[in-house]
Amino acid sequence: MSETLAFTRTPSVAETPTHYCPGCQHGVAHRMVAEYLDAENLAEKTIMVTSIGCSVFLYNYLRFDSVEAPHGRAPATATGVKRVSPDKVVFTYQGDGDLASIGMAEIMHAANRGERITVVFVNNTVYGMTGGQMAPTTLVGQKTTTSPAGRCASTEGAPFRMAEIVAGLGGVAFSARVALNNVKHLAQARKAIRRAFEVQLAGQGMGFVELLATCPTNWKMTPVQANEHIEAAIIPTFPLGVFKDIAKNAGAC
């Protein structure tokens, strides 16, 4: 029996096995970003700012020049990169704990300043790397290792809807939420990632894309169950959509 490859590896994805759990969608997110940058011939001018979370070894999987930011600070580090190298393509890749908890100030201010960067935000509703603790995006009622009875909205707050919050800030040119759980959503995700970079390249402001992604391990589900869980439980709290997309020819100061 001969094998047929469903897709080829885009050159910016390194030929190395990842450390991700079966069914984890970090790898899918990595690949989609790399595919866009390769398709547009941007890989050679890309500088990637990695963050602290399960994707901390991103620089082993994507072959871009990289700087590892401390937990939560990637938007500040990306600001530093971009301000001295305005001709480079700069993006951060951050989890929900990184971006919406410890790094909340950095993302808010970078967005508000309209840093010409792209933010790839992977929301899996838990702190994956540290073993599944409650995240700022954990659903109300969701059981985690630090919310054993389920997240309680009246004492732990409701989950932050970052794509909507970020869309409300003046410096943001594009903000959308997409999911990685089925073919239709992947097509939307591909489009959103493209727009999130296009606004950077056009100098219009920050491009922000939130990707709803699985963490089967900490959700204690099979990969298939995790995909269904995104549809049934996560999307109702985190609606998909484009929350801001400024006109393609909009100016900037």
């Binding site: 500088i47 070894f57 480079k88």
Partner: protein, 356 residues
């Protein structure tokens, strides 16, 4: 500007000019007294000199903007004062490990806690012991005049790039706020070659470059630490100090920064009264000029360390002369501004009464 080309500036302005003349490409900072003249000066002058100025949302953001800019090979810096520098420590540790060169200015203020906005030397330990988590050191330069603030800031960038390390300028409220004439040198743009083989520019025609500080594979972190240790040891060549009237002195005071200037005044007064006292002023605090201090002790001169804290540098003085001699200590505390009279009395007491 005076006829001889000198300009009359505050220490904070001198630092800013030194940085711009050294080819600064990015300044990122958050307001805190007594260093606000630095971001103010930078916001006006750095863009004109072709660099980027960003007022950051916090000191944590500021130092991580420095990390990003510096990783591209650009000359980048931040400045702050004690509480703000505490907030930056995690990133100093990352940058020391990922070997990212930058300059950080700490114009120390009174502490601990929110303290006050007057002068202090309370951050000596923090500055010279790395400050953040883990096993690392960074060079620390301690100017005592506005001219030296200008010169050492310029030089700090060269050291940062030579060793690929964060470098700290450790000043204080007195240095930052006092005005003195300085001679400004000729601006020199940074040499692009200094970062050509490690700066991030996009992986074009070469392998990707990575600034990282996480090493989980067996043995790798040990190897990184061995390389870092060798570098910290090589920094010993930077050790430098000024000596003043030590030749025939019976007692030598060890003191740094602006406090050493007050001590100098006291020494002049004591000399005028015929007392044989001198000053050894460390200019580098890390590496500490231990050899120079030990040499003084070997000549049989007594030592007195004077600091504007409860006794921090005195540890380094005692380590330098361990087995040869000891050092007496006189400390004034944050919250007061020390006077030449007080130090004069302390030096005289140490000279006539021996160690106290």
């Amino acid at each position: 500007m005076s006829a001889d080309g000198r300009i009359f500036v505050k220490g904070n302005e001198a630092v800013s000019m030194g940085a711009i003349d050294a080819g600064l490409k990015g300044y990122f900072g958050y307001p805190i007294t007594p260093q606000n003249e630095i971001p103010e000066y930078m916001s006006l002058h750095l863009p004109k000199a072709g660099g980027a100025f960003v007022q950051a949302e916090s000191e944590m953001a500021a130092i991580n903007m420095v990390l990003g800019a510096a990783a591209t090979g650009a000359r980048a810096m931040t400045s702050s004062s004690s509480p703000g520098v505490s907030l930056m420590q995690e990133s100093f540790s990352y940058m020391a490990t990922s070997e990212t060169p930058c300059v950080v200015v700490n114009m120390m203020r009174g502490g601990p806690g929110l303290g006050d906005i007057n002068t202090s030397q309370g951050d000596y330990y923090q500055a010279t012991r790395g400050g953040g988590h883990g096993d690392y050191r960074t060079p620390v330069l301690a100017p005592s005049t506005c001219q030296e603030a200008y010169d050492l800031t310029r030089e700090a960038f060269d050291i940062a790039f030579r060793f690929r390390t964060p470098v700290m300028i450790l000043g204080d409220a007195i240095l930052g706020q006092m005005k003195e004439p300085i001679t400004r040198g000729v601006p020199r743009p940074a040499d692009p070659a200094e970062s050509a083989d490690w700066g991030l520019s996009g992986a074009k025609g070469r392998e990707q470059r990575i600034f990282r500080s996480l090493f989980l594979a067996e043995g790798v972190l040990t190897a990184v630490n061995q390389r870092l240790r060798a570098k910290f040891e090589a920094m010993a060549s930077l050790a430098r100090c000024e000596t003043f009237m030590t030749e025939d002195a019976e007692l030598v005071v060890v003191s740094f920064g602006s406090i050493a200037r007050i001590v100098k005044s006291s020494i002049r007064k004591l000399r005028a009264r015929g007392l044989k006292v001198g000053l050894l002023r460390p200019i580098t605090l890390f590496p500490f000029p231990a050899e120079a201090v030990a040499a003084v002790a070997r000549q049989g001169k007594r030592l007195l360390t004077i600091e504007h804290n409860m006794g921090q540098m005195v540890d380094d003085v005692r380590l330098a002369v361990c087995g040869i001699a000891d050092s007496a200590f006189h400390g004034t505390l944050s919250g007061t501004i020390p006077t030449p009279d007080e130090y004069e009395a302390a030096i005289e007491a140490a000279l006539t009464g021996g160690s106290k």
